[in-house]
Subunit: 304 residues, 2 copies
């Protein structure tokens, strides 16, 4: 089934204890679409960049079969730029630079060919833009998932609450779930957040895995204990891309299938953090993905 | 099979954001034996208390079928006392009082009836005492598991390293695994620690679950997301008690069975934190334990 993904396509400059990069390709929609491209060849991107964005970067999307008709290139403008530095244990990061540039007045255009998409992934962006995308689709997709972050809870809570009533799946991290609900217990937090609109809630806990809540059901996907985590940038977006890509490819939105999607998302995220930026996501094989998913099976499965 | 457990039996006074207790029954061996008693009726306790320890507390052990012949009561001496205060999110705690009392010169006596025990759980104690217990057993048990803590890494590293070469399973938390190995990555830490002696390593991550390492095998048991965590005191010891109790009851030390034991240990720990101290461990039913384990199945199981 067709997947529409919206979010940032950007330049990132990253410092970790293991090294640093110049401006490399980054942004939520970049990680989402690259990860999803391993599950379905019908991935459609909506985003905006400036004319400083190299053709070779756009070619990366095309090489993965991602439709870039909805990628606006703004003449005379600069692409969104984010720079950050991770601390020693990679668990916290400091933002060094955020230059919104073209993102400041992003007006998403949905190409006609993207209408009738069945799966919509709203990457982290201002809630106002996420809402506009939903409104500009003539037919409501079968499943709408959204990612957001604490920043929007601080500056655009009303808008965020409104979009939350329009989506099926919300994806946030544990700190954000606590902030959004005012509850420390993630089970209590989930109940409150599910009452705000989304039928399904995914709480990402980074190296501690991810929880999926729907009604009274709870599922937990562990994170794979890795030899080395090199750069966590984009892990959450890669996770989301794997999750929705798997759902779109199987066209099954049951809770049982969402569990599998969570494992596939976790597997994709485990690749992402092994190298800088998108590097590890560019040349994965189906055999590698299958092998990694089997590692999750060995890690988590037991019989009682 | 018979299980021998050694560790502290003590008074605890606990403060959490939900309330505080007077002196209640605590100590590693208390939690270990109570948890294990739900799996095997052949649990044998080695510990020491002062004559201030009420008969009613000793009766609690007996009520659970725990053999207290190895519990020394020292006339004119006081029991070990620990007091601690948990912070708001229950993830860190401050020790307010540690009165060693009878523990200062604890010389463990192994009753003859305890010889030939098949399973030995060395609760957190000075490594010297843990070693003496192993040496005083005429026949090496089928499985020796030990728990320890960062304190002994700071003050008795040589002794700790020696006992580690004598045991089969080591149980520590993630911070302690990092301290012991000097590695941040738990996978790297596990490899180094396994090279120090134990064939199997269990790394406890509290609310984030537990990892089991053996050779190249890794297994992860999640923690159950609870509505309310009331008091984390004793959760790690309860986990250890459930783990070794299950192994002793099934008499199967294969990695596959250890996975199940980890789930049973996690289930017991999830009960422990629901009330103050040992309260929730005193009157569990087999049906409750079975139901809780099924919650873990629903939480963690998926098919790909």
């Amino acid at each position: 089934m067709s997947l529409l993904a919206i979010g940032t396509v950007a330049f990132d400059a990253i410092e970790t204890p293991y090294g640093q990069t110049d401006k490399i390709i980054g942004g939520a929609a970049t990680y989402i679409t690259l990860a999803a491209s391993y599950f379905t060849r019908n991935v459609n991107l909506v985003a905006v960049v400036g004319d400083d964005f190299p053709q070779s970067f756009i070619q990366l999307f095309k090489d993965h079969g991602i439709n870039t008709d909805g990628l606006q290139v703004k003449p005379g403008e600069k692409s969104f730029f984010w720079s950050g530095r991770y601390d020693q244990d990679l668990n916290s990061r400091e933002t060094l630079v955020t230059d919104l540039n073209v993102l400041a007045d992003f007006d998403p255009i949905i190409p006609n060919a993207y209408q009738n998409c069945e799966y919509l992934m709203l990457g982290n962006l201002t809630p106002q833009v996420q809402k506009i995308v939903i409104e500009r689709l003539k037919k409501r997709p079968k499943l709408i998932a959204m990612d957001t972050m604490n920043f929007w809870m601080d500056v655009a809570m009303d808008g965020l609450r409104e979009v939350m009533t329009m989506v099926d799946v919300l994806s946030i991290n544990d700190e954000e779930a606590r902030q959004l609900s005012g509850e420390y217990s993630l089970r209590k937090a989930a109940r409150k957040i599910l009452a705000m609109g989304p039928k399904t809630l995914c709480i990402k806990k980074g190296e501690h895995g991810a929880l999926l809540f729907q009604g009274d059901d709870v599922f937990f996907a562990p994170a794979l204990p890795l030899e080395e985590v090199f750069d966590p940038t984009g892990a959450g977006d890669t996770f989301a891309g794997g999750f929705i890509g798997y759902l779109a490819s199987t066209d099954d939105v049951s809770f049982e299938n969402m569990k599998r999607a969570l494992i596939y998302g976790s597997a994709m995220a485990s690749f992402c953090v092994e190298k800088f930026g998108t590097e590890r996501l560019l040349n994965l094989t189906q055999a590698e993905i299958k092998g990694r998913v089997q590692e999750f099976v060995r890690l988590a499965q037991f019989s009682v």
